[in-house]
């Protein structure tokens, strides 16, 4: 079962920033890491990744460069910018807070 639309909504950019914070990467590799990390629950298409990349590049969160390719086609690599790292850390703090509140609301006990 793949329910990527619901699960990823609002978090795609942060997930991509997390992946790029571990090293420069390109579209297919990022999609593959998301799908593998999604444990079968998440499927993501290149088109979704591209739209996120484009938005994040315009916001100055990432930069791009062309690298060596495979089979005659070049790869476009993405690199997280200092602003992107700041936004990522801020997103993580927000997520932790929301996660704590939702846990209280959904599971209770605190």
């Amino acid at each position: 079962m793949a329910a990527s639309g619901d699960i990823l909504r609002g978090h795609t950019d942060t997930i991509i920033l997390r992946i790029l914070s571990e090293g420069d990467s390109y579209g297919y590799e990022v999609a593959k890491k998301i799908i593998e990390g999604g444990e079968g629950l998440i499927d993501i298409k290149d088109a979704t990744i591209y739209v996120a990349f484009k938005r994040m590049e315009e916001e100055g969160l990432i930069t791009t460069y062309w690298g060596d390719g495979v089979g005659g086609a070049r790869r476009k690599y993405y690199k997280i910018s200092p602003k992107g790292r700041e936004v990522y850390l801020s997103d993580i703090q927000t997520w932790k807070e929301i996660n704590r509140i939702l846990n209280n609301l959904l599971i209770g006990g605190n």
């Binding site: 297919y28 290149d46 088109a47 979704t48 591209y50 089979g71 005659g72 086609a73 790869r75 476009k76």
Partner: protein, 262 residues
Amino acid sequence: MLFNRFKEHLDRQFKSLPDSREASDFREELLGNLMSRAMELKEDKSLTDDEIYHSCIDSLGDYSDTLKKLASNPIHALRDKRFLRDVLFMLTFALIAVAVYIAVSFGTGEWGLAAIIVFPAMAGIIYIYATAKVILSNTMLNRHALTGLIIGSYTVLITLVAFFVTAFATPVGPAKAWVLFPFIPFFLCASSAFTFVYFRKKKIPMAIILFGLSWLSVAAYLLVAVITGLWHPTWLIALGGPIVALVAAIVGITQKIDNQSR
């Protein structure tokens, strides 16, 4: 070879886009991703090239919104060589139209009549050329939002010509020739139905069948009544279409219910 197949696929998808750097970068990026995925899938020896190709294309997802954004950028469109070529083509064609008009008018001495014939004929040629290009592009991209409308526009134009010919070049006259106009909604439904079957390879939606048949019976009633002068009881013809359409709807819905209950 997979690389060439991917390239051909992307060529088709990007054909209607301007030659902008942004579009070119996006195309190259997609090609790079497709090849990266394909090379990895190739390691799995059990997959054929066809299976790899379809799996890779499927992985792209729906990027039509991005293509639309790239296509609708006016600055890019103005820089596009194809856009400039089309503008030059239109200017050349307009000059040819004027030249043909002057030549015909000088030759015949009929300046007024030549204008009535030459300019609509030239406009017709350019309309056929432009709509043919749009339909061809729609077919390549498998998007047919405008195809039904374009085909429908031809039925409207043909009806208009038929009206003017019948009304003013035959003894029938405009008092009776107007009866051709009620057929226009039916022709539009038929154009839409044709687009669904021929271009989209899908079933005709029930709403089009219901509306088309109902309207056809009304138009047929008016035609018969105008020709025969029998406005009563030929109005019964108008009931025929809705009855046939409703019976068809009942049969269709019954089949769907049967299929769902199996």
